[in-house]
């Protein structure tokens, strides 16, 4: 696993998808109703977002500020500079969203944040790809391959506008996508609606003790004795076709490193996010900060803040039926 610590940098989500797949709809939805998150958004053309004038508090040629704290900028040639200019606004955004051009591979944008000047401010949280359920099968060969390449590098593929396609069409598209990459995480939606937990997980509600993951080492708060598992399915939003559920684990016994690595390596695609602080038998005196989003995961170690060895982990799964069995391997690790 990558040992780079990615705790304090601003998360970046890249929104890709072929022309017309719903990127603008998704970004507009997030911007006008950010639900308490200050998004910084980089788009190809913010005019296309069609933001209601009532929401705009400041309008510049290449930048608008909204009354809800969000900022939106037009993309320039220099992606890193554009992103860094968002950090310089006050206050800096909580989360940055970047619209990828419909005919490009989003990895090119992600690489901007892997190294170079932007890497110290940002971490790529996730890459999403929207696929247009209504029109995907009508794309020509070259466009189909491009759409598939975009989907193949994404952490989450949103098969959008599902309300406009027959079930047989949806099944055909899904089969085609999984044919290119069986491990692809494909979820259906319409109007680019998504549960916000996917973007800005409410881990604090699921497990308040996870505060410590984000902050600097601090005294350990006593944690109430709890069952090994804390199942907390979240209520799906009425308008969203996509549902998520979260689960949490806790144990006081140090974990077996190999079993843990094997368990997270074998997690099914339905598990989209996980986050935890973990103590291992083979790392006495240190605690591991674990993050998993989509295809990427990191485990970085730091000195233990105290003598306790309480390991805690929380996960978010996607799907109509995100059954407990998708994380059974983790149950075993925590119950040893």
């Amino acid at each position: 696993m990558d040992s780079t610590t990615r705790v304090d940098r601003i998360p970046v989500t890249i929104i890709s998808g072929f022309l017309g797949a719903g990127k603008t709809t998704l970004l507009r939805r997030l911007l006008i109703d950010p639900q308490g998150v200050r998004y910084g958004v980089l788009v190809n053309d913010f005019g296309a977002l069609n933001i209601d004038a009532d929401l705009v508090v400041d309008l510049q040629p290449d930048r608008i500020a909204l009354s809800n704290g969000c900022i939106c900028c037009s993309l320039r040639e220099d992606m890193a500079a554009a992103a860094i200019s968002l950090v310089r606004s006050s206050p800096a955004p909580d989360h940055v969203l970047i619209e990828s051009s419909g005919v490009s591979n989003p990895m090119a944008i992600a690489e901007t944040f892997f190294s170079g000047p932007a890497a110290q401010f940002f971490q790529v949280d996730s890459i999403w790809c929207l696929v247009d359920a209504e029109n995907f099968l009508q794309l020509d060969y070259a466009a189909t391959e491009l759409a598939i390449e975009q989907a193949a590098v994404a952490d989450l593929v949103l098969l959008n506008r599902c309300d406009l396609a027959e079930e047989a069409t949806l099944a055909d598209i899904t089969r085609t996508l999984l044919g290119a990459l069986p491990a692809m995480r494909v979820s259906r939606t319409r109007f680019a609606e998504i549960p916000r937990e996917l973007l800005a997980p409410d881990f604090d509600r699921a497990a308040p003790w996870l505060d410590r993951v984000r902050s600097a080492p601090s005294p350990v708060h006593p944690v109430p004795s709890s069952p090994t598992r804390l199942d907390q399915p979240t209520t799906p939003r009425a308008e969203a076709a996509l549902r998520v559920s979260s689960r949490a684990w806790h144990t006081r016994s140090p974990l077996d490193r190999a079993s843990f690595e094997a368990a997270v390596t074998g997690l099914p695609a339905s598990v989209y996010r996980a986050k935890g602080i973990l103590y291992f038998v083979d790392e006495p005196g240190r605690c591991g900060v674990f993050h998993l989003v989509g295809k990427r995961r990191t485990l970085a170690f730091k000195p233990s803040p105290g003598p306790a060895t309480d390991s805690r982990l929380v996960s978010i799964s996607i799907g109509e039926a995100a059954l407990p069995h998708d994380t059974q391997a983790i149950d075993l690790v925590f119950s040893r």
């Binding site: 060969y141 189909t144 391959e145 085609t176 044919g179 290119a180 990459l181 069986p182």
Partner: protein, 559 residues
């Protein structure tokens, strides 16, 4: 007026001339180098109209030379509408089949569909696609699936009529056709693939071929090459080059070797075509090429020690137990071809991979060189995957040289070791170190269209023998950087019979240079793939790599 057009100085100049390995400055007049030496001495030659080219710390070397390449064949084979299904981006057999299925879905009825890159070694879950399976994939279109090594292809039933193939079609000499249970052809190997390929290339037309050839020649130039070869040129293909030369400057020089067939004699009169007559030759036919055996990845190379019996060889490659392969030709036919070519004075280059084929080819070479001492030399062995140490000694004593296809190790090293030949055999796979230490003037090549032109990758392998996945295979075959550099400059030039013209920076030779962002003589051998290629100079003319910002070349070649 001094007649000196340009002086290059301000960076390391690695000449590859043993008499003066390093120089401070080079003077160029017209297409040629006129002097090398200290900055002080060379600047004395400069006049008021001489361009002073500041290398700005870059390293100047003789342009890279590939003794064995196929720019035209690459141009004919790749590109629209051919679909690339190589394992590098489509890692499983099922994903490759799905890619074919997606293309078929978008095809017009009857449209010929061609796919390249099926890879028994690298495609997870690989099996040979049965014709019934290809028919089910593409019931209404002719479908051809070619292997990544280019030595074999599979067709569906629609392809039979589209390419004029029936149950009576005979494989040309040097090739094989395999039939399905119904008696109809299904799999083609070696020269039999040309029954379909030539027709397909013609269908795609000369305009596309021309554009693709320009594109491929630039791929070589961008990789730092100033000379490659077209080794296996059909006489019918030569007009592609002559037409190009007539109105567009070629960004590299190309040395041609005619593809030899039993049913016709080599072309008697070699076309020598230059940009400005014979002073700056951009294309020249200098030898003949024949294929002694096939590809290790297909299983049709003739070896003493059998292939391992593994899931890879038995299932994915479809070989029998204890496979030892075979030659493409009978011994008699091979001898006839070599003797005929030597009698006509041609240099002979033969594709050889298995050690038993190499024994036969060396017998033929020995007889031909004794009977026709005036034949152009050196006679060459191409690729040489499993050449034995004793064969290297014998070849060297005959004046025969090897050109090694080192990138096999990079892409397929683990499969060769674990699935095909075993660790002890692959320690000696492509044994360029043994040949170098025997005193042979070897060369390295990438053999496009199979792998893309990349001299730095050849150097990386010669210096480290490290695969893409990080294994070191055959550490004893590693050589030093000075030895490795010879194999892509002066010794490659010598194999092409061009070492009096190119291959080193010395007075009288063509001003063919490559500019590098690091000095190979002092660079970490493990990091050669990171060396920036800043551009090339061909016959005194600066070429800027495409798709690179101009800024990379600031100061170079500016008046």
């Amino acid at each position: 007026m001094t007649g000196i057009d340009a002086v290059y100085t301000g960076g390391a100049i690695v000449t590859m001339n043993p008499g003066e390995p390093l120089a401070e400055a080079v003077a160029v007049a017209g297409t040629r180098i006129v002097a090398t030496g200290t900055q002080r001495d060379i600047m004395k030659l400069a006049g008021s109209d001489t361009r002073r080219v500041d290398l700005a710390g870059a390293t100047l070397m003789p342009g890279f030379i590939e003794a064995h390449g196929h720019p035209l064949m690459s141009a004919l084979a790749w590109g629209e509408p051919v679909v690339d299904i190589r394992a590098i981006h489509t890692p499983t057999f099922d994903a490759a089949i799905e890619k074919i299925r997606r293309r078929v879905r978008k095809a017009a009825p009857g449209e010929v569909l061609w796919f390249i890159g099926l890879d028994p070694q690298l495609h997870v879950g690989m099996r040979e696609p049965a014709r019934a399976e290809l028919d089910a994939l593409a019931p209404d279109n002719p479908l051809v699936v070619q292997t990544s090594n280019f030595h074999a292809l599979f067709i569906n039933s629609r392809a039979l009529s589209a390419f004029g193939i029936d149950r009576d079609t005979q494989a040309p000499k040097g090739g094989q056709i395999f039939h399905d249970a119904d008696g109809l052809p299904w799999k083609f190997q070696e020269s039999a693939t040309l029954l379909l390929r030539e027709k397909f290339y013609q269908m795609r037309g000369p305009v596309r071929a021309r554009e693709a050839l320009i594109d491929w020649l630039w791929k070589f130039a961008d990789a730092g090459y100033t000379t490659s070869s077209e080794i296996g040129l059909m006489p019918e293909w030569t007009p592609h080059y002559t037409a190009l030369l007539a109105d567009a400057p070629m960004p590299i020089r190309v040395v041609g070797y005619e593809r030899l067939r039993l049913d016709r004699m080599p072309v008697a009169q070699a076309p020598i075509i230059g940009k400005g007559g014979t002073d700056d030759v951009r294309f020249a036919l200098r030898g003949v090429k024949l294929w002694g055996d096939g590809s290790p990845f297909v299983g049709n190379i003739w070896v003493t020690r059998p292939y391992l019996n593994t899931e890879l060889t038995l299932q994915r490659m479809g070989l029998g137990m204890d496979n030892v392969g075979h030659m493409n030709w009978s011994v008699e036919d091979l001898r006839t071809l070599v003797m005929r070519s030597a009698a006509a004075g041609w240099q002979v280059a033969t594709h050889v991979q298995g050690d038993r084929t190499i024994d036969i080819v060396l017998d033929c070479y020995e007889a031909a060189l004794a009977a026709y001492p005036d034949a152009a030399r050196p006679f060459r062995l191409e690729h040489c995957a499993l050449i034995r140490a004793d064969q290297i000694v014998r070849a060297h004593s005959l004046g025969v040289v090897c050109s090694f296809f080192l990138p096999h190790l990079y892409h397929w090293g683990e499969a060769l070791r674990d699935g095909m030949f075993g660790a002890d055999v692959v320690e000696q796979y492509m044994p360029s170190g043994t040949a170098t230490r025997a005193g042979m003037r070897v060369s390295y090549h990438c053999d496009s269209p199979m792998t893309w032109p990349d001299a730095l990758l050849c150097l990386h392998l010669a210096l480290t023998r490290r695969t893409r996945l990080g294994a070191v295979i055959g550490a004893d075959q590693r050589v030093g950087v000075e030895e490795a550099l010879r194999a892509i400059t002066i010794d490659a030039a010598w194999q092409l019979q061009m070492s009096d013209q190119i291959g080193s920076i010395e007075a009288g030779k063509q001003a063919d240079f490559v500019l590098l962002g690091a000095n190979p003589l002092t660079h970490d051998p493990e990091r050669f793939l990171d060396i920036p290629i800043l551009g090339t100079v061909l016959g005194g003319e600066r070429l800027v790599p495409r798709e690179r910002p101009e800024g990379r070349l600031d100061g170079v070649g500016q008046p």
